[in-house]
């Protein structure tokens, strides 16, 4: 019974997340946000490019006759040509296929780290704030402690024991949830006192249900934005670690290792690192644009040009 009560209490008109509203005449919040997002050309372009990169990274290698470990003994260090679209390396490896392989790694790691770290941040932040007391203090102490050391240093220290590149995903995720957890905690502190949460609590709904049905949906916007921000940051972190040799290990490749390999001869044979660098910047830039567009879509007031322009015109003494 309690489930029914709480579901209805969540659907109070005007409450930020209103599951019933989609069925009625007024457009739901989700649809409004979507409409605002689609109006933002840069953000839509970012999303298209990001999805396009994913498709390219997985379909591209299929179109090429080479694999990322093949060595073409007839072409060493050749500039881009019809045979090798991005040229070849010192030992005749095809740069295009290697770049796509690296792009796969970097994108998959980035995407998974983004999703996992936001999930962890949501659980830790809501649990800390909802239960309060020593749970809160202990969790926040852990957050404070982990914020002291840059992720890069700790992961680099652990890197000699890596045997598989997949280990990068949980390790990076372990350092990406910290700040978001603090923000989620802060929001939960205020949401916890809302009437509908109180009502659910007093009608006997268990805490985990309250958290996932009444608290988390009310910060969906910030969580979605957090995922996109984290994807971009995670891609940068992974390529950075791989660049230093502490991430993805040869013979496998990531955009970071490709750039590292290419730098020694970057000036004479720029195709060795140029394409990897270009794809890296485009990937991160597109995610960042999506994140920015989402923020504006969720919160139109954050950048309201008209209100500010009015102030500027009226405010200038004439």
């Amino acid at each position: 019974m309690s489930g029914g009560v709480s579901a209805r209490s969540a659907a109070v008109p005007g409450s930020p997340v209103d599951p019933a509203a989609g069925a009625t005449a007024t457009p739901s919040r989700g649809r409004l946000v979507l409409r605002r997002f689609l109006r933002n050309k840069l953000a839509v372009a970012g999303l298209t490019v990001f999805v396009g990169l994913f498709v390219l990274a997985y379909v591209g290698p299929l179109l090429s006759p080479w694999s990322y470990t093949d060595q073409d003994v007839t072409a060493y260090l050749q500039p881009p040509s019809a045979d090798h679209w991005f040229g070849t390396t010192q030992i005749g490896e095809d740069v295009f296929v290697r770049t796509m392989r690296g792009l796969q790694k970097s994108l998959v790691i980035g995407l998974l780290v983004g999703v996992i770290s936001t999930t962890v941040a949501t659980v830790v932040g809501t649990v800390a704030a909802y239960f309060g007391g020593w749970v809160d203090r202990a969790l926040m102490w852990v957050v404070d402690l982990m914020l002291v050391l840059p992720a890069l240093l700790v992961i680099a220290i652990l890197s000699p024991s890596f045997t598989n590149w997949l280990i990068m995903i949980p390790l990076l995720a372990a350092f990406f949830w910290l700040i978001a957890a603090r923000i989620v905690r802060g929001m939960t502190l205020s949401l916890r006192e809302r009437e509908y949460v109180q009502a659910a609590r007093f009608s006997g709904v268990p805490p985990y249900k309250i958290i996932f049905r009444h608290i988390v949906p009310n910060m969906a916007s910030i969580l979605i934005i957090d995922v996109t921000v984290n994807i971009g940051q995670a891609v940068l972190a992974e390529t950075g670690l791989s660049f230093l040799g502490f991430g993805v290990q040869p013979p496998d490749v990531s955009l970071g290792t490709l750039i590292a390999d290419g730098t020694s001869s970057a000036l004479t044979f720029p195709w060795l690192f140029m394409f990897a660098g270009l794809f890296l910047v485009i990937a991160v830039l597109s995610v960042n644009l999506v994140g920015d567009g989402l923020r504006d879509a969720f919160d139109p007031q954050s950048t309201s040009p008209r209100a500010r322009r009015r102030w500027r015109r009226g405010g200038r003494p004439r």
Partner: protein, 354 residues
């Protein structure tokens, strides 16, 4: 979302307010006590963090592997000796205590090749601090200026240019930026017909010359790494400053300031910029951590023998003492910057002081 904090996560407001939450409520004129309490808290965090890094390094590193894999293999007694010397058989907390006791007396131990760390430490600290201090100063000053300008001139070409700059720079990893700068430097030097900008090392090896010439030489080496490290900082701070400033621009008190007769410029500087700087104070600490990570790459790309480069070498040769020393250095810097931002916060926001 009534009552709930706005979703300006990336633009930092939620993050700012969240950090501000950690500050205690104003308590009389007890700012010294407040700063002292924070300092003690930071020292404790510093110790624990270094211990964790030391333990992680001691657990994963196998410094003997390099010797065992040699061909022909060294006699077992040599390995055994080394094991004794590096105290590899003792439990890790004991090893940490031994190392920590040395640190308190100014002795950071030896590298696995037997060089005393303390000797090399100070020159490397100097190299790194030069880069970090200049980079962070430039980053903060230019970033705040660019952001404030962007807000004041919102939706004009200069604002778009600034936003485009920050977006591209924030999407470019520091190591790639460094390589591209080297590219640009070669083109620039070719155009100038002489070597104006150097991109390896912090001085020319075996440089001979007077004080002025030496200073010029260092400056020529300094320019590119500083640009590489400052760019990211400028981009980061300008984004946050722009959005903080936009919030202030729409506020009533700024209109009031103009209504009582201040010119727009005066109102913007006296009331606008100062208010918009308050939340930035907490961000500086966060940005400093990013800066340290960036400096590892910059030192690696430009072959500066600083702490970051040392750390990379330390992990490559699996040397626990080097890694622990650099970690301690980083933790001290980050926590000092955190404490400094508390001080700044107290200085800028009268609500904390009174």
């Amino acid at each position: 979302m009534q009552g709930v904090r706005r979703d300006e996560y990336h633009d930092g407001h939620a993050a700012f307010e969240e950090c501000a939450d950690r500050l205690p409520p104003p308590k009389g004129r007890d700012v010294t006590g407040f700063l002292l309490r924070r300092l003690i808290n930071y020292v404790a965090l510093c110790l624990i963090a270094t211990f964790f890094a030391y333990s992680a390094a001691a657990l994963t590193f196998n410094p003997l592997a390099r010797y065992q894999m040699r061909n022909p293999p060294p006699p077992p007694e040599v390995i055994e000796n080394l094991r004794q010397e590096l105290r590899l058989d003792e439990p890790i907390p004991l090893r940490f205590l031994h190392w920590g006791a040395g640190v308190l007396q100014g002795d950071f131990g030896e590298t696995i090749t037997g060089q005393p760390i303390t000797m090399e430490l100070w020159s490397r600290v100097g190299v790194s601090l030069r880069l970090l201090l200049i980079g962070t100063t430039l980053g903060i000053v230019l970033g705040v200026a660019l952001g404030a300008l962007g807000a004041i001139r919102q939706y004009r070409p200069s604002d778009y240019a600034g936003t485009l700059f920050s977006f591209v720079v924030l999407s470019t990893p520091v190591f790639l930026l460094g390589i591209l700068l080297q590219f640009a430097a070669i083109k620039f030097n070719d155009a100038a017909g002489t070597t104006v900008l150097y991109f390896t090392g912090e001085t020319t090896a075996g440089f001979q010359g007077g004080f002025g010439a030496a200073l010029l030489d260092r400056l020529q080496h300094l320019i590119l790494p500083t640009i590489a490290i400052a760019f990211t900082q400028i981009a980061l701070y300008s984004r946050y400053q722009r959005s903080a400033m936009l919030d202030v621009l729409g506020s009533d008190f700024l209109r009031t300031a103009q209504a009582k007769g201040l010119t727009r410029t005066r109102a913007l500087f006296k009331h606008g910029l100062r208010t918009a700087l308050i939340p930035m104070a907490t961000l500086f600490a966060f940005g400093f951590g990013l800066l340290i990570t960036g400096s590892v790459f910059v030192e690696e790309v430009f072959a500066w023998y600083g702490m970051g480069e040392w750390f990379v070498r330390g992990v490559q040769v699996e040397d626990v003492n080097i890694v622990a020393t650099v970690t301690l250095f980083v933790a001290v810097l980050i926590l000092f910057s955190g404490w400094l931002s508390d001080v700044l916060y107290a200085a800028l926001d009268p609500r904390i002081r009174l």
